[in-house]
Amino acid sequence: MTKRILPLVLCVLLVLSGCTNTGKPAGGEEKGSVYWLNFKPEADTALQKIAKTYTELTGVEVKVATAAQGQYESTLTAEMDKSSAPTLFVVGTQAAVDTWGDYCYDLKGTDVYNELVTDDYTLYDENGKACSIGYAYECFGIIVNEELLDRAGYDVEDIRNFESLKQVAEDIHARAQELGFDAFTSSGLDSSSAWRFTGHLANIPLYYESVADGGWKECPPEIKGTYLDNYKAVWDLYINNSAADPRTLATPGYDAASEFANEKAVFYQNGSWEYTNLTEKLGMDADDLTMIPIYSGVPGEENSGLCNGTENCWAVNANADPADIKATLDFMYWMVTSDAGTRLMAEEFGPIPYKNAAPTPNVFLNDASEYFNEGRYNVTWTFSFTPNVEAWRAALTSALTQYCSGGSWDAVETAFVSGWATQYQAANS
């Protein structure tokens, strides 16, 4: 009999030995621990630094995991199903609130919430629950290497609108051989870079259309594409005044940040989050860098500032262990109030919407404030209204690729305008 039972016992032990590890860090039980699922690969270095500092100071474990580019939603879905789910995650748009609202802890009245100086970046669900709060502003525009611009015989002050931008860019492109650098970095349309154009550049026509409509409060079921000609003008300027052959933009291999850091181009459309990458990783001098608005030829654009907004909004997992929720809220509070925390946040993310915010070395965000102080209007992040954002952008990318290879602009218009209506229906059916 024992001979029969023995193998069974062995097997049960074998299976059990594989199941005992629940993934919970030892010693994290009483103190609670923080697991932050970050959505921006470019911010990963900064976050790891913040997490390490906090752990050194308090002994509370902070784990930061970063989803790959464009994989945040799938990573979040998978992680949320685990027993050790993220305690801190990003819910940056109203669409994300619709999906993840049930998982969000009501932040209203928490210590960190009470530190906010503005409610502008707080996302609420339909019951008024504060699902997520902004932790950093960002801005995007055209990053300029002033040193190179100077070598080409121009100054940032020379660029006041689309006309002057075009004139400078075309002149630099024409003299690229002699200067040793071109006007724009490559406008890659592979997945690591396409979002700069289908997301951020597309914000320009979306923003002006929203303004013409009196300002969108929610996602409109249809858009008209009134400012698509301006979108086309900028896109043409990018692809025709760069060293990259437009026909090859969809193939992987272009690295605009390196081209820019290696002084291959004067202009590089990207955002304030690139600051750490450009200055620390790629070794650029912060004094050479500045950011100008994306001019597209819309009347009155001389008064426009940078595109300011944020999708960096913290949400706390309501289903997490109470000790972990507390640890997470404490960590958030530390980041926005303590000297070390606010300094790190300022260094890595720029100004934060909290009472104790420290000044930032990020030149792009300081440029943004400067434009704002000059009385220029803020180009808000209208793209956050995009329905089924990944699907809409994928179609736009495909259409832009076809256009770059000599196809007609009609496909871009269709993807932009009809694509919006289709995705709106799909998202709301």
């Binding site: 062995l10 097997c11 999906t99 049930d102 699907a391 290879s405 993807a415 209506a421 995705q423 799909a426």
Partner: protein
């Protein structure tokens, strides 16, 4: 008097030595069975359940009935990708098997460096699908650039690109199976054929291929299911591009990703749209399973019937 089994030591009397297979099968079977149950059976059953639910994560599923299946069938992109995948599977099945067999046949003819060739042909199989997809997209575009176009611009480029990629990757693997099969063809049968004056073609047709049927069964099964399940290479090579935009009579835009195969379509439905589409994607996945299952069983039956007993 000694009693059998006692005096010769404990080991001799242990069940392991006397009836190894009878008693201890469970020790060897259970870990695999447990892994199979945890890693396959349970997720599979849960997947079927989820296809009738609306959910964001698997923990918060709400039963909604067959609605997901209705939306799956209404999705034009899904129907399109089914036919596209079927066409791909047929073309890949024929090409991979014919070429793999041809290579195996040549490499069993005692030519110089046969072992080196076998290794070289097998090697592409060791590279992951995503990496292959990106490398081939650079290769294809390197050529197509001269003609002012790209693999992302024409549905047929994407189709043949994927066929070439899959042939390159899979021929080596199938070749190994065919080589094993060819080496197992009884020498006496071949000799008898020679003595009877059969030509090379007759020998191949009447002796070699009938003896090779088990290899053909397994190779066609593998290529067929691999083609239907293809995902990584599809994602990395074209990602579904080019898209085709068509305005339907009711005014909505239908976007067909013209090189999107079934598995990629399911993936894109799951993550590319709002959370309501996750149930639809799950329903598509169940339909996908039924389809691949039915096709593979039909194929196995068809080729098994032709196998000969040696």
């Amino acid at each position: 008097m000694f009693r059998k089994g006692k005096t010769n030591g404990r080991a001799y009397g242990s069940g392991v030595l006397r009836h190894p297979k009878k008693r201890y099968w469970v020790v060897f079977l259970l870990p695999t069975a447990a892994a199979f149950a945890i890693g396959f059976v349970w997720p599979f059953l849960q997947g079927i359940y989820l296809s009738f639910c609306s959910f964001v994560t698997t923990a918060d599923a709400k039963w909604i009935g067959v609605g997901n299946y209705v939306s799956a069938f209404r999705d034009r992109g899904f129907v399109y990708s089914f036919w596209y995948t079927a066409l791909f599977a047929v073309v890949a099945l024929v090409l991979i098997n014919v070429l793999a067999f041809a290579v195996a046949y040549v490499l069993t003819q005692r030519i110089k460096g046969a072992n080196l060739f076998r290794t070289v042909f097998f090697m592409p199989n060791l590279i992951g699908g995503i990496v292959l997809g990106y490398i081939w997209s650079i290769l294809f575009d390197g050529v197509l650039r001269w003609y002012n176009t790209s693999i992302l611009l024409e549905t047929w480029y994407g189709f043949w690109g994927l066929v070439i990629l899959m042939c390159w990757q899979q021929i080596g693997y199938m070749m190994i199976i065919y080589i094993a099969g060819l080496q197992a063809v009884p020498e006496d049968m071949l000799e008898a054929a020679r003595i009877d004056g059969a030509s090379g073609w007759q020998t191949l047709r009447r002796v070699t291929i009938p003896n090779l049927m088990p290899s053909i069964t397994i190779c066609t099964f593998l290529t067929l299911t691999n083609s239907f399940k293809l995902f990584d290479q599809n994602l990395a090579l074209t990602g579904g591009a080019p898209f085709q935009f068509k305005t339907l009579p009711d005014g909505t835009l239908s976007t067909i990703k013209t090189t999107e195969m079934l598995a990629l379509n399911i993936y894109n439905t799951f993550y590319g749209q709002n959370s309501a589409a996750r149930g639809t994607a799950q329903a598509k996945a169940v339909l996908f399973f039924l389809l691949v299952g039915a096709i593979s069983i039909a194929q196995l039956r068809a080729t098994r019937n032709k196998e000969v007993q040696q």
